[in-house]
Subunit: 532 residues, 2 copies
């Protein structure tokens, strides 16, 4: 079996026209990435047992292995938020419609996707056929919407809490569920209900608020890079992609394996818009009444979808070790009854000793899979779940005092036979190596599909599937000079489903040139891409 | 000032008829506990800055200091759940009405308090006066309710997950928000939206499920006793107080300072009711199709209200150290400009060294309150928040290498002057002493107001305010022999607002006697009380 080229789609589509295609590794995800990327994504989630659709339209059930990733994200990010001075609080799930109306573009932005609560009880109503059905009763004087985001309800609280410049800055974060009625839901990436954190802060000056907005974008960038192995690009959204009610929206964007972009997190400078809408006023240093300057920033369970689309392969999920709910699984191989207990005891002992070691600030999480099942079957389950390291211990290994170690970032049959002490010693650095290799691969893939494009013709070609290529996998990040109008942007979106993902911050994008649509001068390149 | 008698209501009501009443300690909560207990409770929450009402009917905003307690509860309980083999997952917020209808008593139990989602967008509608209002649009074919509890939606998932006895037991927990439309909301105790955890498990046999139900009740009991300093009593609910759809409901009950009972947590044995309603079936060991046996168990933000009503005093909240978001606050006293920096430096240094020590498995959480405010004012804020230990450091303390230490479970003017090293050394055990003293006081109070009652006349007297007593504070736990009917129970509830809180497990309640209402023989005493 050749070494896996996880992100080499070129090679994979070659395989499709190749008789070797029939020799799929046993248990691989079907379809493969190169065959049908969106369906492969759903199948990886299923195979990894991370989430599933529920009968509630657009709402998913996050299963323990998927929720375990969210728990890691939550506890690790929470530390970063606290380190930067934020405190958690909790605000109502329901928002009066009149609150949403306070900020005109905000209500327009969310009106088409609100779950509306109109009644507060159910009543048994006799049906024509004699049966009884529960119907909504107790109509509310004013309907509520389930929060799609909490600027207005948190703004109302901030208005009560702030009266002097001494009360500022107010640095609050909330972990919660939100709801946006999605017409085309997709597990993790776009669900009607999702879990997220939303930071909300109020400041004395515009400068301070902008600084906060950018600080939290930095927190997102480093977290996603270092913990999720996602090489995100920081930048600013254009006006047409801004959060409804924001003065500027900053984002972190990344490229997944089908070369589309995903916006993994956003940070908004809200100016005084929401402070005026919600009445967040304070007595300033000079004694005058002033409106606060506010920000909001958030990331969601979408990050999990982004990780899957970035790191998974045709065998299933690959978990970046720093975010994996379990770092190492130990699969005892017990073919014979007479050595079974001894092998299990060795596995338990190894697990105990490994669990006393730490990696990246956490105790190493080890699981011994002692289920009464065939060893190969168990190994495959863990491959699909993407556990970073599998350790198999069989009767012969036991005799030799060795363990067989397989890394999820390598071909699954490649095993290193290590002495117990050696394995214990090396595992923390092996986990970091896997972490690094995932980031390096994702970065390489992203770099390989970023292209400077300077003409409309080339642009169209870049974003149009060709015969040689897969219909789903083409394009990438087009780096273009841009000085076009909002209408130009809208036309590109309508024609090619391509949008400006961001105006990136990095110096490498700063150079003078000419907009490929309007012909006007431009000072830097922006990133165009198709996106999720 | 006399030493505080935190739980001695007798003494406190004496004070009311006493000229000393005018000499209230500066900044005490108004009204005092003995004057108006429910209002005192609201005022403590306000003074401690833990939560506040929002404009959304019955929904509270949990402020950082209150949410910090919830974060501690969550992280500490979560460890206990995981230790007992449970994994977290997340299920949809919305439940189709038809799901609720699957279990008849369940839907009846919750129908009167459901928030109902009937529409999925808002539409601008022009008003007669020319203005525009957003109105619900996009009516749903089937309405959803916001989960008041998740048996039916989690049951639907379990039905998908379970097919063989090998898939059992299934041990799942969910941390989330739920909603029950409350007509008389009260911060923390009874809010329309609240935060909780709900455990849901499925088992092969009835025995196993009952064992699980009781195991989790034990987890609740020990957590509440050891971490929240709440002396809860374990027992079973009578049929009339059972969870809608359960075969048996077990609970932990405790007495707060006005002698009323609070149910702090429940654990339900659901038999096969929900398994049949939701279709949770599996192939048993003998090959036949069987229905699983399920349980559910939960505790909520109500525990925070219970702690406040149990531990707070007329100066504000008292946090049990093991659950306090901050263990120790350091208030630098800086009256003179020339020693200010040195005092602040000493405070920071002390905080740093203290923060390296641990208490009850956590790093000691220390905060230096360096705000530009009067020291006395700052100290009072922390007294009200109930931080377990306050340390003041002034210029003279600094010269002597000492700190002034005040414990929140003692009179607030009582200070110990300790050498720095001594203070660092002793603080972990001082924190445990405070924890122990809070539990001992609460237990003493509970014991003092539990009374064996054997006649209806005495029973009525016990639960009727007298002239000597405060109108709100009377009664307690009446320990009575009981063999009455459901109707007898309902009559007592209607006449006296008193219910059977539980049939306690402890041996001390087991003795033969005669029911004080029906005259029938009884094998044990039950607990009657008024309750929140």
């Amino acid at each position: 079996m050749p070494p896996k080229n996880l992100l080499g789609f070129g090679k994979m589509s070659d395989q499709k026209n190749n008789p070797a295609k029939q020799a799929l590794p046993q248990n691989a995800i079907s379809p493969r990435r190169a065959e049908d990327f969106p369906e492969w994504f759903q199948q990886v989630i299923k195979a990894a047992d991370m989430a599933e659709n529920s009968e509630v339209r657009g709402c998913m059930v996050i299963k323990p292995w998927g929720y375990g990733v969210w728990e890691q994200i939550q506890s690790q990010m929470d530390k970063l938020f606290k380190k930067t001075g934020h405190k958690n609080a909790y605000f109502p799930l329901l928002i009066p419609v009149s609150y949403m109306e306070r900020e005109a573009s905000h209500v327009d932005g969310f009106a088409t996707e609100c779950a509306v609560v109109t009644h507060h009880r159910l009543e048994a109503v006799k049906q024509p056929d004699g049966s009884v059905k529960m119907k909504p009763a107790g109509e509310l004087a004013e309907p509520y919407i389930i929060r799609p985001t909490s600027e207005t309800i948190i703004g109302a609280a901030f208005a009560r809490w702030v009266s002097s410049y001494r009360d500022l800055p107010l640095l609050i974060n909330q972990w919660c569920n939100v709801m946006r009625w999605e017409m085309r839901p997709r597990l993790f990436l776009r669900t009607a209900e999702f879990l997220w954190q939303e930071g909300h802060t109020a400041h004395e000056t515009s400068d301070e608020a902008v600084k906060e907005t950018l600080l939290m974008l930095d927190v997102y960038e480093s977290f996603m890079r270092d913990q999720l192995a996602l090489p995100v690009i920081k930048g600013e959204k254009t006006e047409s992609e801004r959060f409804p009610g924001a003065l500027s929206t900053y984002c972190v964007e990344t490229m997944v394996q089908d070369r589309k972009a995903i916006q993994a997190g956003t940070s908004h400078f809200l100016g005084q818009n929401f402070a005026k809408a919600c009445g967040i006023q304070f007595q300033g240093r000079s004694g005058s009444q002033e409106h606060a300057w506010t920000t909001s920033w958030g990331v969601s369970t979408r990050m999990i979808g982004t990780m899957i689309m970035t790191h998974a392969d045709d065998d299933g999920m690959i978990m970046p070790p720093r975010i994996a709910p379990t770092h190492v699984v130990i699969v005892p191989i017990t073919p014979k009854e007479d050595t079974r207990d001894a092998v299990l005891a060795m596995a338990q002992d190894f697990a105990k000793r490994l669990g006393e070691r730490s990696f990246a600030g956490r105790q190493i999480e080890v699981e011994v899979d002692a289920r009464d099942k065939n060893g190969g079957e168990k190994s495959w389950e863990w491959i699909k779940k993407g556990v970073p390291v599998r350790i198999e211990i069989g009767p012969r290994d036991m005799q030799e005092g060795k363990v067989a170690l397989a890394r999820r970032d390598r071909a699954h049959k490649q095993k290193d036979f290590l002495l117990v002490e050696e394995a214990l010693e090396k595992l923390p650095s092996i986990l970091q190596e896997i972490q690094d290799s995932l980031l390096a691969r994702a970065r390489e893939h992203q770099n390989a599909h970023m292209k400077k494009i300077d003409s409309l013709e080339e642009f169209k070609k870049f974003f149009t599937p060709t015969n040689e290529d897969k219909p789903e996998i083409h394009g990438g990040f087009a780096l273009c000079h841009w000085a076009g109008s909002k209408d130009d942007e809208a036309k590109i979106k309508a024609d090619l489903k391509v949008t400006i993902r961001c105006v990136p911050f990095a110096d490498s994008f700063k150079e003078s040139g000419t907009c490929f649509v309007s012909g006007k001068p431009s000072k830097q390149r922006v990133i165009f891409a198709k996106s999720y």
